[in-house]
């Protein structure tokens, strides 16, 4: 199985490139929007994909380019290109049923892989299961694609969020090379050094091939067994700020490779953000999924949500931007510290934003790892900035999710990065204003409390900076075909009142 995986990853290399996925989606976008002919509509993306494949092969001949291309590759892109994109764009007919064999195969392969790993393991003690990362992610995508046919939109989103939470917080189990690796991880977690500077102890052990993968929402790197992705966008931003350019100009090879890796990761995550924008917040982000547990508690207790007023909403956004800018500067100053680990007499942590981020509290707590607060030293670090901020922000996180749905997400700088791509990228919310009865359920059901969808009566594009594409407005809209979510020019979902009444 290992050999098979090796061969497969060798040959599927071009498809695991973000450029391939991006090119494919843009060609689909153009062909759906511009081309009327039915045959060319399907032929164009396929030819374009083949062309990209050939270009990639030619470029890979050059060793220098190949190194860069390899750095960007991630099985996630291949899975998106082969399982998710056809599931979205193939017309729901006979072809679609034929296509469903592919996700089914992915699931079967993953199961076979787990079984093979189990029998190969030298020690037969139970240590959860082990699977190749590519197969895990493709099996997950396969399950989601198949599940999509059974669930209503709202339930499908819940299912997606929960499965993403499991993989992003506990997915590390699947990447252990062997049982010894697992035990080593447990040990490291036991004697986590209390010193905040040393981050490696709380980071996942995975690094299958020393590649950094990021997604544009908040999968915390401090989750105990988080494995599949390295972390959130803010982590990457701090990493880039921490690059020591003095060392680079001196020609330090390790620092150069750090910069190269970070830049590669930035490119890959930008591609993901261009494709999904803030969709990642609504459907994947584990931080908000944990927050939704508080929301769920409120709902079951029967309390109604509070609609935050404008000052609160703007204040959350402004403080998010200010705090992230300030901590990114601190991250830059980290490169300037002296031998005592101090900058101008102040001690600084390696990842300053992470130290105040509620994600570092919540995600590790959910996955039973060291939470940020308890390993944070006292007030001597920048006059207690970290200690006070983390308490305040975690309080805001919990109270925000308990009372006002997603008001915290207006603060989240990781989400704001996705928000940049909300307008003009591949995803969009469309409104047929003529069909609107302006009942305002779109605003009422919107966890981000966006009023634009109800207000806009002229333009058809109603996506805004804060939209997380949770699809609740589309799901709840009582006017048939009034609201829809468009992905690369294709209507992915549409409001349909009668269907909702029938299927719940």
């Amino acid at each position: 199985m290992n050999a098979l995986y090796g061969i497969a990853s060798q040959y599927l290399q071009p498809f695991a490139s973000p450029f391939f996925l991006l090119g494919l989606l843009i060609s689909i976008n153009i062909s759906i929007k511009k081309i009327k002919n039915n045959v060319i509509k399907y032929v164009l993306p396929v030819t374009f994909a083949l062309l990209l494949f050939i270009i990639y092969r030619i470029c890979a001949e050059n060793a220098q380019i190949a190194k860069w291309l390899y750095r960007l590759n991630n099985p996630l892109f291949a899975v998106l290109a082969f399982i998710v994109v056809p599931a979205v764009f193939l017309p729901k007919g006979r072809f679609y049923k034929l296509f469903l064999i592919l996700p089914l195969c992915a699931i079967i392969f993953a199961i076979v892989d787990i079984v093979a790993h189990y029998f190969m393991a030298r020690e037969k003690e139970f240590h959860w299961f082990v699977v190749h990362p590519g197969l895990l992610i493709s099996a997950l995508a396969g399950i989601l694609v198949i599940a999509q046919t059974f669930f209503s939109l709202d339930n499908f989103r819940r299912f997606t969020r929960l499965s993403a939470l499991v993989v992003l917080l506990f997915g590390g189990f699947a990447f252990r090379q062997n049982y010894a690796d697992y035990k080593a991880m447990l040990e490291r977690r036991q004697n986590a050094v209390k010193d905040i500077m040393v981050l490696s102890e709380t980071t996942p052990v995975m690094r299958y091939d020393n590649r950094l993968a990021y997604i544009p929402s908040a999968p915390c790197r401090f989750a105990a067994d988080g494995g599949y992705v390295q972390g959130c966008v803010m982590e990457l931003a701090q990493r880039i700020h921490q690059v020591n350019f003095a060392k680079i100009s001196a020609g330090d090879p390790s620092e150069v490779s750090v910069l190269a890796m970070a830049l590669g990761a930035l490119l890959a995550v930008t591609v993901l953000a261009y494709i999904g924008a803030r969709w990642w917040c609504g459907w994947i982000c584990p931080l908000s999924t944990i927050g939704s547990i508080f929301d769920f508690a409120r709902r079951t207790m029967g309390f109604s949500y509070i609609k935050p007023n404008k000052p609160v909403k703007t204040g959350a956004m402004v403080s998010g931007l200010t705090l992230s800018a300030f901590t990114l500067n601190l991250a830059y100053l980290y490169t300037k510290i002296d031998q005592d680990g101090k900058f101008m007499g102040c001690r600084l942590p390696a990842y300053p934003f992470c130290k105040i981020c509620p994600g570092q509290m919540v995600c590790p707590a959910a996955s039973m790892a060291q939470t940020g607060y308890f390993i944070l030293p006292g007030m001597e670090w920048l006059f207690g900035f970290f200690k006070i901020s983390v308490i305040a922000l975690t309080g805001f996180f919990i109270i925000g999710f308990l009372t006002a749905r997603r008001v915290f997400c207006r603060f989240c700088p990781m989400g704001m990065f996705g928000g940049i791509f909300n307008r003009g990228a591949l995803l969009a919310i469309k409104k047929d204003s003529r069909k609107c009865n302006s009942c305002g359920i779109c605003n009422e059901s919107c966890p981000m409390d966006i009023t634009l969808v109800q207000k806009e009566m002229v333009k058809s594009d109603v996506s805004s900076f804060d939209c997380i594409y949770c699809g609740k407005c589309v799901y709840n809209c009582p006017q048939d075909k009034c609201l829809s979510i468009e992905f690369a020019g294709k209507k992915v979902m549409e409001s349909d009142f009668e269907k909702k009444m029938i299927y719940g």
């Binding site: 309390f303 003529r434 009422e444 009023t451 009582p478």
Partner: protein, 415 residues
């Protein structure tokens, strides 16, 4: 809760015992009953709806009865309090005459007629325990204080504009005030469970009405517009049991599905818009029925539009449901009392497109300035869209029936 009306100037209620006028009221109703009886393709169970609508005995009431005006008061809320909501807007021309004697003459016949019903001691309006009025138009706004002499009245303040961002909290608090009022006078609590139950029922009602309208736009003869209005209005203008009503309407829908017209219909399809048409004032509907045109869709607050928008709550907590009620009844309304009329125009254009109607009919009630003024834009927009348009401006009286017939026949000549 604070008093909306000061008790110091409270007057004794007035009643007008006028047997001649009562006879006239009954005569108008009988005329309409006779007309309806001769309609083609009536549903087999129409007698159920007729019994509700034609009933004139309102003294027996198993539940407390809460009367309300306009389509901006959430009846689901009243149901959830264990009371029976009844919409009190009245369409009787004779009742308008008697109301005119006491109220001023220069307000719309709907207000006069609804007020006239209160002057008769044995009417449905007088059998209600509480009254709820929205501050939709001037007549309604001032009528509340007069009616407060007779029954406890609640005035629901509407926002001047359907801007959700600015006014949604305000209308939510108005609904909360309404809940307080009902709690105080009905002496029962509000449970989220009951609310949910009646919201589900009204959602089913709107699905049924949507289905019927969809079938009617394809085969308008499956049920005539008069019967359709009768079915809709029997669920709100009289104390009807909603669950039973849904059962019966499902039978109607089944029959409509099975209905096959014998020959191709040459009758013109029209979309009706404008002021409310309330039983027994089906004058316009009768005329179009007789002149050979089918009204396939409407934007009337007493027609299909009144049930078309469902109450949708994103979650089933009490506050969220109350917000949903405010949204549906205030913000989804096409009433001209709000500042912008663009929603009504786009609704009409949308209905014309959906049903394949050939023309649009605007019924504007004389002395209702709101509809009159809206006519300016509607007329010009429809002309620019090249949709034939007729504006019929009339009141409840039956005298101008023949003049209208001439106008309508001339209008239908276009097609």
């Amino acid at each position: 809760m604070d008093n909306q009306f000061q008790d110091i100037y409270k007057l004794n209620p007035q009643y007008a015992d006028n047997p001649g006028n009562m006879k006239k009221q009954r005569f108008i109703e009988d005329e309409q009953i006779r007309f309806c009886a001769e309609l083609p393709h009536r549903p087999s169970n129409i007698s159920y709806f007729e019994n509700i609508m034609y009933n004139r005995e309102f003294t027996a009431k198993p539940k407390p009865r809460v009367g309300y005006f306009c389509n901006m008061i959430p009846p689901e809320l009243i149901y959830a309090f264990g009371a029976q909501p009844v919409r009190l807007d009245c369409g009787n021309a004779a009742s308008a005459l008697i109301g005119e004697e006491i109220l001023c003459g220069d307000i719309c016949p709907l207000a006069k007629s609804s007020f006239g019903a209160f002057l008769n001691k044995s009417s449905l309006s007088n059998s209600c325990d509480l009254l709820i009025l929205p501050s939709s138009c001037d007549a309604k706004r001032k009528m509340g204080e007069i009616l407060n002499d007779i029954k406890p009245v609640f005035m629901l303040n509407l926002p001047p504009e359907q801007n959700h961002e600015r006014f949604s909290n305000q209308s939510y608090h108005e609904v909360l005030r309404l809940v307080k009022f009902l709690k105080k006078h009905l002496k029962t609590g509000l449970s989220a469970h009951n609310l949910r139950k009646y919201i589900k029922l009204s959602q089913i009602r709107s699905v049924l009405i949507r289905e019927i309208q969809k079938i009617r736009s394809k085969k308008p003869r499956a049920v005539s517009i008069c019967d359709f209005f009768l079915i809709i209005q029997s669920s709100m203008f009289r104390p009807a049991d909603l669950e039973q009503w849904i059962e019966q309407t499902k039978i109607v829908l089944d029959e409509m599905n099975r209905f096959e017209p014998q020959r191709k219909s040459l009758r013109t399809k029209l979309v009706l818009s404008g002021a409310p048409i309330i039983w027994p004032n089906f004058k316009i509907l009768n005329l179009f029925e007789e002149c050979g045109a089918d009204i396939v869709a409407d934007t009337l607050c007493t027609g299909a539009q009144s049930c078309f928008d469902p109450v949708i709550s994103s979650e089933w907590t009490k506050g969220s449901i109350l917000r949903a009620l405010a949204n549906r009844y205030v913000y989804a309304s096409v009433c001209p009392c709000f500042i912008s009329q663009s929603k009504r125009i786009s609704r009409i254009l949308e209905l014309v497109e959906q049903t394949g109607a050939k023309g649009v009919l605007n019924y504007s009630l004389r002395l209702c300035q709101l509809f009159d003024v809206e006519n300016y834009r509607l007329d010009r927009i429809l002309k620019s869209e090249k949709i034939p348009f007729i504006n019929i401006r009339t009141d409840y009286s039956l005298e101008d029936k023949e003049q209208l017939r001439v106008r309508i026949e001339a209008f239908l000549e276009i097609f």
